[in-house]
């Protein structure tokens, strides 16, 4: 046997199954037999979980309820969960922008465009790199891996000034799409790391079967391995998209025109020097959150696999 393939056949099979989504849900988790647990314990467990769930969901619910309240009602100093006179006015204000001051659609368009472009560029650069790192031994590989490990931890604050100056010199400051360059690049190390985990889970024999069947190295990558890691690619794409969708610091520092803002910075427009328009802010927040939420519910299972290298099932 060659030294480079330590995993046993059964491992490879399980992993292959996992990649193709075949793996059944994990066996029943270990649980002490019901009889050994008292009713009191069970009630306590549920109580803790219910309280925690409430605490975790409440801030979002509060935003939901508030978005249907008038600003006057929001600023009421008595606790009032549900709007007494529910109104859609906040949503109308956001979506139609009657005062031409808060171009929500421009922000959404910018955010979507930036996030989408980040996703496309990020994935198309990260994908082949992750494949190479997963499959080949080559001179400099350790260096590349180490450099990714380090850059993965660079905070935005570190690159803030130099990127700000670089973008200024290139005349890119203020253009939302210039952010794509920064976003796609800064999320690359992590994208590669995640994608590599997905590739690692695909048995190398499939590459070899492809080679023997008549494919070149690119053909193997593009026609065999890429189709097999579509969930992984989707997760990396989602990760890139979300990163760009949520990024605040660089957007806040680099964007100036009201119409060129992305959503996070745009929404900040409702926080004025002299107060906050909570009605619009909550409504807009909710509008921003819902699509992300739907995507997230789908992606989170795979996301964990990607983050933890398959050592953990979601």
């Amino acid at each position: 046997m060659s030294q480079s393939r330590p995993e046993s056949a059964t491992d490879a099979k399980t992993l292959a199954k996992q990649v193709t989504g075949e793996l059944a849900l994990p066996e029943q988790p270990y649980a002490p037999k019901r009889s050994t647990r008292s009713i009191v314990g069970s009630v306590a467990t549920h109580a803790v979980l219910i309280i925690t769930s409430i605490v975790l969901v409440f801030p979002i619910l509060w935003i939901v309820f508030s978005s249907f309240k008038s600003n006057a009602e929001i600023q009421n100093t008595t606790i009032e969960l549900f709007p007494s006179q529910p109104t859609l006015q906040n949503y109308v204000n956001i979506l139609t922008d009657p005062t031409h001051q808060y171009p929500f659609w421009s922000w959404a368009g910018n955010s979507f465009g930036v996030a989408f472009a980040t996703m496309i560029i990020g994935v198309s650069i990260a994908l082949p790199a992750a494949y190479a790192l997963s499959r080949f031994e080559f001179l400099g590989k350790q260096g590349v891996l180490l450099s990714f490990l380090i850059t993965q931890m660079f905070p935005g604050a570190l690159l803030l000034v130099p990127l700000y100056r670089l973008f200024t010199d290139l005349g890119l400051l203020g253009h939302p799409y210039a952010l794509v360059i920064a976003y796609a690049t800064t999320s690359l190390p992590f994208s590669v790391y995640m994608m590599k985990n997905f590739f690692d889970a695909v048995p190398k024999e499939l590459d070899q079967a492809g080679l023997v069947d008549g494919l070149g190295p690119f053909g193997v990558f593009w026609r065999i391995i890429t189709p097999l890691t579509i969930p992984g690619i989707a997760v990396v794409a989602f990760f890139n998209f979300m990163n760009a969708w949520n990024e605040f610091m660089l957007a806040r520092a680099f964007l100036t025109d009201n119409t060129s803002l992305t959503l996070p910075v745009g929404l900040q427009s409702f926080v004025f020097a002299f107060g906050v328009d909570w009605g619009r802010l909550t409504a807009a927040s909710l509008l921003v959150t819902i699509p992300v939420f739907i995507l997230f519910v789908w992606a989170q299972r795979y996301l964990i696999t990607g983050l933890t290298g398959g050592s953990v099932k979601g």
Binding site: Q75, T99, H100, Q101, Y102, G113, F116, A117, I120, I121, S124, F167, T168, G171, L172, L173, G174, H175, P176, Y177, F218, G219, W222, R223, A253, F254, T256, D257, N258, T259, S260, Q268, S269, V271, F272, A273, F274, G275, V276, D277
Partner: protein, 421 residues
């Protein structure tokens, strides 16, 4: 390599081109010139501004105004960012404090040549001074403002207070009477800018601009006395949430929870939307109280806004046309009538259309209490956290530092600020 791959790459590339051209494709074409304008008014104040802009566009079919709202709090650094990059608006409504700073940084277009002597002499002297740097004109004053004492007439009279407090001891006495049963004598906004009436009225100040560089006097005896008095009177105000101090204070006054408030003319129309002022005549306007010992000195911080033009503008003539339209007598009157803010032109005060504007008249009467702001290049940053003004004030108010220490720290911050380090 196979066909599918190239198709994918091609699609990707064309997508990128489409996406990127979306942001680079504007401008450059002939036809009407587009002027980008950033305004910083709040939603209510901005109504008249947008009306004026469409009027301007009607009168000048060759000039389009791309008017964008930029929040006042972030307008300063957004303009600075955009100015360095060439994407700044042609015209900006800027706080008077920023005018000198931007001019000193060479971000601004010298408009001296456009303004005739007669036009210049129509502007009030104090606001015009803020637009002037090293003898050149860098902006046109839009509004001037200062703080006044708003009071709830009904509440005061029912507490047996017949007139608005003239001195701080009146103010203190009134607070003692008014603060009962969940109600407060006054509400305070909780930020450095609003501490100035106290600092100034006891003989203190921010800078002594007669020296070069200007010397901080925020830590002189008068300033410290003012700060101590402020803290003492906060016993009669609702607890301050520093992040939301401004709105909370205004709201407390609007709803009758607090009987007095120090704020500017810009807030007048908004205050009237409050439940305590469904009868507008219930709102009283008086001068900021004075310290008996110091006397009737200028004690209310002067503020205001100017129209300024970006040095990198490609259309200075059109931009100036727009600026001058916005600060014309007619426009100033329209703004004053809509927002009850103070015009910067002599002629505007004498305009017949202003006759019924009692609010502006009552503000104008208090103009002598206005204390000019130091015209220094760093003027725009005096109230920014960088100087430590707000941070140290907060430390003082929350009992972490005594007034003198806080004031000394602020003075150190001011020193660093003017030294430019």
């Amino acid at each position: 390599m196979n066909k599918r791959f190239f198709i994918a790459i091609g699609a990707l590339a064309s997508l990128l081109v489409m996406v990127l051209s979306g942001c680079g494709g504007s401008g450059g074409s002939s036809g009407p010139v587009t002027i980008k304008y950033w305004y910083t008014e709040g939603a209510q104040e901005a109504v008249v501004i947008t009306q004026l802009i469409s009027k301007f566009e009607q009168q000048n079919p060759n000039i389009k105004v791309d008017a964008q709202l930029v929040d006042f709090a972030s307008a300063h650094d957004k303009f600075a960012t955009a100015a360095q990059n060439g994407t700044a608006p042609d015209v900006l409504r800027a706080d008077v404090g920023w005018n000198t700073e931007f001019a000193a940084n060479k971000y601004l277009y010298d408009i001296t040549k456009y303004v005739s002597a007669s036009d210049k002499s129509d502007y009030l002297q104090a606001p015009l001074a803020y637009a002037t740097y090293q003898g050149k004109l860098y902006g046109l004053p839009q509004v001037t403002d200062f703080l006044v004492l708003y009071y709830n007439k009904k509440v005061l009279s029912s507490a047996g207070i017949t007139a608005a407090p003239k001195t701080w001891s009146d103010f203190d006495a009134a607070n003692k009477k008014l603060t009962t049963g969940g109600k407060f004598g006054w509400a305070w906004e909780g930020s450095s800018y609003f501490s100035q009436p106290f600092i100034f009225s006891f003989g203190g100040g921010l800078f002594d601009t007669s020296t070069n560089p200007p010397t901080p006097i925020i830590n002189n005896a008068g300033s410290v006395a003012g700060l101590n008095f402020l803290k003492q009177e906060l016993a009669y105000a609702p607890k301050i949430d520093f992040q939301n101090g401004y709105t909370n204070a205004v709201k407390a006054f609007q709803t009758g929870q607090a009987a007095m408030l120090m704020n500017g003319p810009w807030e007048y129309t908004n205050i009237l939307t409050g439940s305590a002022f469904s009868d507008p005549t219930n709102l009283g306007v008086a001068a900021v109280p004075m310290d008996q010992a110091t006397g009737d000195v200028a004690r209310s911080p002067a503020g205001g806004q100017n129209y300024i033009m970006y040095a990198g503008t490609k259309h200075p003539d059109e931009a100036y046309k727009f600026m001058s339209f916005m600060s014309s007598e007619a426009s100033q009157v329209a703004i004053a009538n809509a927002n009850k803010t103070l015009p910067t032109r002599q002629s505007a005060y004498n305009d017949s259309a202003m006759a019924s504007n009692t609010a502006v008249k009552s503000f104008a009467a208090l103009l002598p209490t206005q204390k000019a702001r130091p015209v220094i290049p760093q003027g725009g940053q005096i109230y920014a956290t960088v100087t430590g003004f707000d941070p140290n004030l907060q430390k003082f108010l929350t009992g972490q530092e005594d007034a003198q220490t806080a004031a000394n720290n602020i003075a150190d911050g001011f020193k660093k600020l003017v030294a430019g380090s």
